[in-house]
């Protein structure tokens, strides 16, 4: 029956796949995404496979490794269908119990269920967990139901029906019209309307055109493209083929980071299977349309995620941006019209075709339709990948879905848009998240990184961190970016070390302006954003560093001191033995003293000092007390406490 040669044959294939499956048969979906993988999901998978054999359950239960489910904080995550039971933090030792209780006896294992941190209630079903309840997982939601290495799973869920609809019932012009009306904007960062880009590319002169997928995700803390590519590669592929048909391209490129080995693996398997089934190659679904895809692995440069640099890289040269006052959709790879979209943008296309532009537009805001996947990380209770309709407020994302800030700390800011984005303070949290609103705040949507920061974060240090990243990743071609970022970084380093001078803020602002206005590519033009937004919302922190040599959050190492309170020290030797710099002196019954010259401010002493004594303190708002004489005896306490 393969390859599939018509829309009818595809439907027959889908029916036969579904008919071959027993909906009542239990199936276990174990998350094997990046987060769960790091928590050891592969060991859990092996345990499941072995235990299923041992209990003679083979054939009676399905087991699959899937892509990321989203709740990475609680990994490894297991979902058992058809009862829809969700287990979190599953360990190898839990596997026999799950199989015995849930699969053989149909009961949930209470202790593995998610516990609501507020009500302390145990929640059985994934959809009732607050983290998922407020999401709308349009693009990301199929991950638990799909084994990325089996195309049949995707087909069973309606996969490739959009492609078949497009190839058999729609003209390229109609598809373009649908995408245009859906007003889907590029998910890679800039938010350029995809329909407009497609049209420019379709209408650009030239017989040979290309489509390309940008999977060169490089923002620190962002992994949504990775998880989508790992978990549901066919969704992206289907969008890409539809795009190729619309634009008139017969060759496509998928540019993917070499640091994403599982994504590359799953993609390659997906391409092979798609070809086998007749969704790629010659005469796709009997329509006469030909299309092939080349996988190009990036060599690890952040700037290669910029469209023109990505294309230079595909051409086999070093990934460096080129001046592009003529759009890449007109002059792209080998100077041919190239339509480059982000992973998530392509994944939105099948949904738009299946559900229609009007339905799609009903999600989100007026200017930004659909949903957006964010990677919610940092100082937030539920870290993970979240997909919400555009227009949800930052507060809802951080507090309702993210579950707020851990350890009772106060929220300080959320950084959106990766290193080129900006920090948004508490009083702007009720702003609805979409492309235009975030830009108004001086930040941007970016590819969807969201880093939550609590009160213990120094905003100057944060800006310094991002500039350091950008300085490393700048290609060095144009002078504003190469020199300007370096100058700003140098000034920020000085400020963090307490060597800031009056006038530094003005220099920062002036240089930021040059870098922003004059840089060649988007890496440079947005590089100053972390500095500019922190200056806009947290200027007093800069001033405090410069004028009083104080770091209000107590982060900048040069501006803090660790001190052992002589009256509280019980001379237990713990800090002394664990100090990597051997900076602490003292002996049994003799007060421990930190040698400030030797101390590297790692904070181990503070962490290790027993809470009962609580003798180590971090000092940044007052002078260091006079040191006590070496050999001072610890004061006697009542009997029983040493």
């Amino acid at each position: 029956m393969l390859p599939v040669k018509s829309a009818l044959e595809l439907e027959q294939l889908r029916d036969s796949i579904i008919a071959g499956r027993d909906p009542a048969k239990p199936s276990i979906a174990l998350c094997s995404g990046s987060g769960c993988h790091a928590y050891g999901s592969e060991k859990v998978a092996a345990a499941f496979e072995e235990e299923i054999q041992r209990r003679g359950l083979a054939g009676k239960v399905d087991f699959r490794r899937t892509g990321c489910h989203g709740l990475c904080e609680k990994g490894p995550v297991v979902i058992i269908y058809p009862n829809d039971i969700c287990y979190v933090q599953v360990a190898v030792g839990d596997v026999p119990e799950i199989l015995a209780e849930t699969i053989e006896n149909g009961r949930a294992v209470e202790r593995l269920l998610y516990v609501d941190p507020v009500t302390q209630e145990r929640i059985v079903s994934e959809k009732d967990i607050p983290f998922y309840k407020y999401q709308n997982r349009l693009i990301f939601g199929n991950n638990p139901k799909i084994s990325p290495k089996h195309i049949e799973d995707y087909i069973a869920l309606g996969g490739y029906s959009a492609l078949s609809k497009v190839l058999t019932q729609m003209t390229p012009e109609q598809v373009l019209d649908e995408v245009d009306r859906a007003n889907v904007r590029g998910r890679g960062g800039a938010g350029f309307p995809a329909g407009k880009k497609w049209r420019t590319c379709r209408e650009a002169p030239g017989d040979i055109k290309y489509v390309a997928v940008n999977c060169d995700e490089g923002d620190p803390g962002a992994y949504m493209d990775r998880s989508l590519m790992e978990g549901n590669p066919h969704e992206i592929l289907e969008g890409l083929i539809i795009g190729a048909y619309t634009i008139g391209a017969h060759e496509g490129f998928i540019y993917i980071r070499a640091e994403y080995p599982l994504a590359v693996d799953n993609l390659r398997v997906a391409l092979r299977q798609a070809e086998e089934y007749g969704f790629l190659g010659e005469d796709i679904l009997g329509s006469g349309f030909n299309f092939k895809v080349v996988v190009h692995r990036g060599a690890g440069a952040f700037v290669s995620g910029e469209s023109s640099a990505l294309m230079t890289s595909i051409e086999g040269k070093a990934g460096e941006p080129r001046p592009k006052y003529v759009r890449t959709s007109v002059v792209g790879i080998w100077d041919r019209p190239t339509c480059l979209n982000n992973v998530e943008t392509w994944a939105n296309i099948p949904v738009i075709i299946n559900e229609g532009a009007e339905w799609y537009r009903s999600l989100g805001t007026k200017g930004s339709s659909g949903t957006k996947i964010f990677s919610l990380v940092g100082k937030v209770n539920n870290t993970g990948l979240v997909e919400v309709p555009m227009g949800m407020t930052l507060r809802d994302i951080v507090f309702k879905i993210g579950g707020g800030i851990p350890n009772g700390k106060k929220f300080k800011a959320v950084q959106t848009g990766g290193p080129s984005g900006g920090c948004i303070p508490e009083d702007q949290l009720d702003v609805p998240v979409d492309f235009d609103e975030l830009t108004k705040l001086g930040s941007m949507m970016g590819s969807g990184g969201m880093i939550v920061m609590d009160e213990d974060t120094c905003m100057v240090d944060m800006a310094r961190y991002f500039l350091e990243f950008l300085s490393d990743e700048s290609c060095g071609k144009c002078i504003p970016c190469r020199v300007g970022i370096g100058v700003m970084l140098q000034i920020l380093n000085n400020i963090c070390e307490g060597k800031g001078k009056p006038g530094d803020i003005e220099i920062l602002e002036d240089v930021a302006k040059v870098v922003k206005e004059g840089s060649l590519c988007a890496l440079g033009t947005t590089a100053a954003n972390p500095v500019l937004t922190t200056l806009r919302y947290f200027r007093s922190e800069y001033e405090e560093h410069i004028n009083n040599q104080r770091c209000p959050a107590g982060v900048c190492k040069s501006l803090i001191r660790y001190h052992i309170k002589p009256e509280a020290c019980r001379a237990c030797l713990l800090c002394l033995e664990n100090c990597s710099m051997m900076a602490i002196s003292g002996w049994l019954r003799r007060v421990h003293i930190i040698d400030q010259e030797k101390c590297n401010k790692c904070g181990t002493c503070l962490e290790i000092c027993p809470p009962l004594y609580n003798a180590v303190e971090k000092i940044w708002f007052k002078e260091l007390p006079e040191p006590v004489a070496a050999g001072t005896k610890v004061p006697r306490l009542r009997e029983g406490v040493r």
């Binding site: 440069a301 990743e473 504003p480």
Partner: protein
């Protein structure tokens, strides 16, 4: 190619569509500063000194005039307040990065930039304009020079496999360097290597 009409510094000019704005400016006798532009070589857009203000559909923005193609109806300002303020800022950066380069000093003087307000630890006389790289690749088609590394570590290098063979008889690139640093780089990377090689073979 068809002809387009645009305004440059208030003056209307007719040029071929797609001509770079820096060429249009030259035609209109406006002197746009630049380090990395040479009309015989492909434009590079790296030094950013040639940024000019373009007003199109009522929106103003700064563009690199060496790569921006002439379009119908646009208005170009080569020395507007916005342009001058940008160039001042850029020249301050350049002066801090390469204080001893004559051409940069001259431009700084023209725009009234004196002592930069900051110093840069990692100075580099070579401004990485890429004229030598492009000259070698495009005019000589020899590809003996290239860029190495990225960011502040980026530098111009002669590729020994090619350079040792052909550079001693050519050296034409040395004169295109605006900072006069290339002869030094050539000396370090090629001549010394040749001398060492000669010494090695003589002693063996």
């Amino acid at each position: 190619m068809s002809e387009v009409t645009l305004k440059i510094n208030g003056e209307e000019v007719k040029v071929e569509e797609g001509t770079s704005l820096i060429e249009v400016a030259r035609k209109a006798k406006a002197n746009v500063p630049s380090l990395c532009y040479n009309r015989k070589l492909s434009p590079f857009g790296a030094c950013r000194l040639c940024m000019v203000e373009v007003i199109k559909d009522g929106k103003s923005r700064l563009v690199a005039s060496c790569v921006y193609p002439a379009e119908e109806g646009i208005e170009v300002q080569t020395e507007s307040e916005r342009v001058v303020s940008f160039r001042k800022g850029l020249l301050e950066l350049m002066l801090a990065a390469a204080p001893d380069v004559k051409v940069i000093q001259n431009y700084a003087k023209r725009y009234g930039v004196e002592q930069p307000r900051f110093t840069i630890e990692k100075q580099n006389i070579c401004v990485l304009c890429g004229l030598c790289v492009r000259y070698c690749a495009e005019i000589k088609q020899a590809h003996a020079i290239g860029f190495q590394s990225r960011g502040t570590n980026r530098k111009v290098v002669f590729l020994p496999q090619i350079a040792l063979k052909i550079c001693p008889d050519c050296k034409e690139c040395l004169s295109v360097c605006p900072t006069k640093q290339l002869p030094e780089i050539y000396r370090e990377q090629v001549e010394l290597l040749l001398e060492n090689n000669a010494g090695d073979s003589a002693s063996s």
